[in-house]
């Protein structure tokens, strides 16, 4: 009988030890899930978009006054709204990064590094377009790991900037040959996106962390979408296979790319490949911008679905990020098209909905 009592007491002690261990394991991700779900409840719905798309630019600040954007959107101009959205996005990225359990911070570090890429893109695009140094600097967002060194690039030429980036995670020398030959900034733009993305993929795909399963699935969708858009642009611009390969994460439809007569033919052939899910709603004769929008809608749809597949965990966080990114894109677009005088109907057609 004494042995029985001893076993019972041991079981109780084990149960008591289990409590803190269990809580330590689940606490960070449950908290993150709760926070992003409340944030998700504040996302704009169709009705709100309808109302927003029919406003004049003058009414935008008051429309956003009581929302999370209110702090940054303060003046009725497209420039102020665009800048406000960037600052809001930066704050949100930092907030989400802080919410992510520390054991995954290396993977989600892209939320911070993303700002290096955006700043770098702005600087290089500014140099390419001949925008004055001060103006370029004013457009930068104080974020990321290389803010100061990127800022210094603003006054240099593009060749000098490419040399300065040598040895950093954003080495663009690989794309300079095409850029010099065509003077097309898209090559540098594509390479920067690839540079940021390949690091995330490297960190996440090779991680044995089970918690990253849903994130990896979404990452794959994003990689497919980026590659497909680059391939379509490449086909439309007559870029050869070898040149294009440098700008893609994975080039596994080389035969379709090479054998297709034009971009429409290539699009049809893509329907028979792993990219088919990205273009399932695409009708015939659509322009590339529309095809890209449709594929972004598919990305958003997949992002939303992830939350259903994984109620607690990274699923809701990834899903929220996908939806928030789409919302920010939509707000920016509404502001731009409103400023340019487009009708509410036309504006609505351009928005992303999953």
């Amino acid at each position: 009988m004494d042995a029985f009592v001893l076993v019972l007491v041991a079981a109780l002690v084990a149960a008591c030890l289990f409590v803190p261990l269990y809580l330590l394991r689940i606490t960070p991700i449950v908290y993150a899930t709760a926070v992003v779900k409340v944030k998700e409840s504040k996302l704009m719905d169709d009705k709100k978009y309808e109302e927003f798309a029919s406003l004049d630019l003058e009414d935008f600040p008051s429309f956003f006054e009581d929302t999370d954007y209110g702090k940054h959107i303060t003046a009725p101009s497209y420039e102020n709204i665009e800048r406000g959205l960037l600052l809001y996005e930066r704050d949100l990225d930092h907030e989400v990064f802080d919410l992510i359990p520390k054991d995954l911070s290396e993977v989600f570090d892209f939320l911070i590094r993303k700002w290096d890429v955006l700043n770098l893109r702005r600087v290089l695009a500014g140099i390419h377009a001949g925008i004055p140094e001060e103006e370029v600097k004013e457009g930068l967002v104080e974020a990321g790991y290389m803010y100061d060194s990127i800022q210094e690039l603003a006054g240099r030429g593009i060749e000098e900037a490419a040399s300065a980036l040598e040895g950093t995670p954003y080495d663009i020398r690989e794309g300079m040959e095409e850029y010099r030959a065509t003077n097309n900034f898209s090559f540098i733009d594509l390479l920067l996106k690839k540079r940021m993305f390949e690091k995330v993929v490297e960190e996440a795909m090779w991680s044995r962390e089970k918690k990253l399963k849903t994130f990896n699935a979404y990452l794959q969708v994003l990689a497919d979408s980026l590659d497909m858009k680059a391939m379509l642009r490449g086909k439309a611009g007559g870029v050869g296979i070898e040149e294009l390969r440098r700008f893609l994460m994975k080039f596994d439809v080389e035969r379709e790319y090479e054998e297709s007569k034009d971009v429409n033919d290539f699009l049809v052939r893509l329907g028979e490949t792993k990219y088919s899910y990205l273009i399932e709603d695409v009708g015939e004769g659509l322009d590339l911008t529309e095809v890209e929008r449709k594929s972004e809608e598919q990305v958003l749809k997949r992002g939303k679905e992830i939350s259903v597949a994984e109620t607690f965990g990274l699923g809701p966080v990834v899903s929220f990020m996908a939806q928030k990114e789409a919302e920010i894109r939509n707000i920016r677009l509404i502001a731009k098209l409103t400023a340019e005088g487009f009708s509410p109907e036309k504006i609505r057609e351009s928005l992303l909905f999953a």
Partner: protein, 159 residues
């Protein structure tokens, strides 16, 4: 009076009843509580709803506490004269404590449901009622446990 082995079993039963049920509640609350803090960090107006979700996993600990009191009263460990009780009666009381303690671990599952319910209703307030029903359903094992434990105590004349 020197405590007998029977009395020791009964006391152990009281301890297990509250101890295990309390552990269940602690884990369950850990889940719903963390979800709740996440929600009110974003929207403090949702404190009322969060409180409801955090109250549900507490009931198992209350059952464990009540059962512990009943066992201690029956064994004369509370306020009365300590009477020698048989080893058999002590084991039955221990069994009653175990059944309430173990069934009280249902608070873990309930806490998970409540955490999920709190999050779901924070996003969509219209699903508060349905989610609450699911949370309350997880109470069933604990209620059955208390019923059986009370019947056991009645059988040995503790009540």
């Amino acid at each position: 009076m020197e405590p007998t082995l029977g009395l020791g079993y009964a006391a152990l039963g009281a301890g297990i009843s509250l101890g295990l049920a309390g552990a269940g509640t602690a884990i369950g609350l850990g889940f719903s509580g963390v979800a709740g803090t996440g929600i009110i960090s974003e929207d403090p107006r949702k404190f009322g709803n969060v409180l409801v979700w955090n109250a549900l996993p507490q009931t198992q600990m209350i059952y464990g506490f009540l059962m512990a009191i009943l066992i201690m009263l029956g064994a004369g460990l509370l306020g009365g004269t300590v009477e020698p009780i048989s080893e058999g009666a002590g084991l039955v009381a221990l069994g009653a404590g175990i059944v309430v303690g173990v069934s009280g671990l249902s608070a873990i599952g309930q806490g998970s449901i409540c955490g999920g319910g709190a999050i779901a209703s924070a996003k969509r307030p219209d699903v508060f009622g349905q989610s609450l029903v699911l949370g309350v359903l997880a109470e069933t094992p604990a209620i059955f446990g208390v019923v059986i434990a009370v019947l056991m105590l009645l059988a040995i004349g503790f009540l």
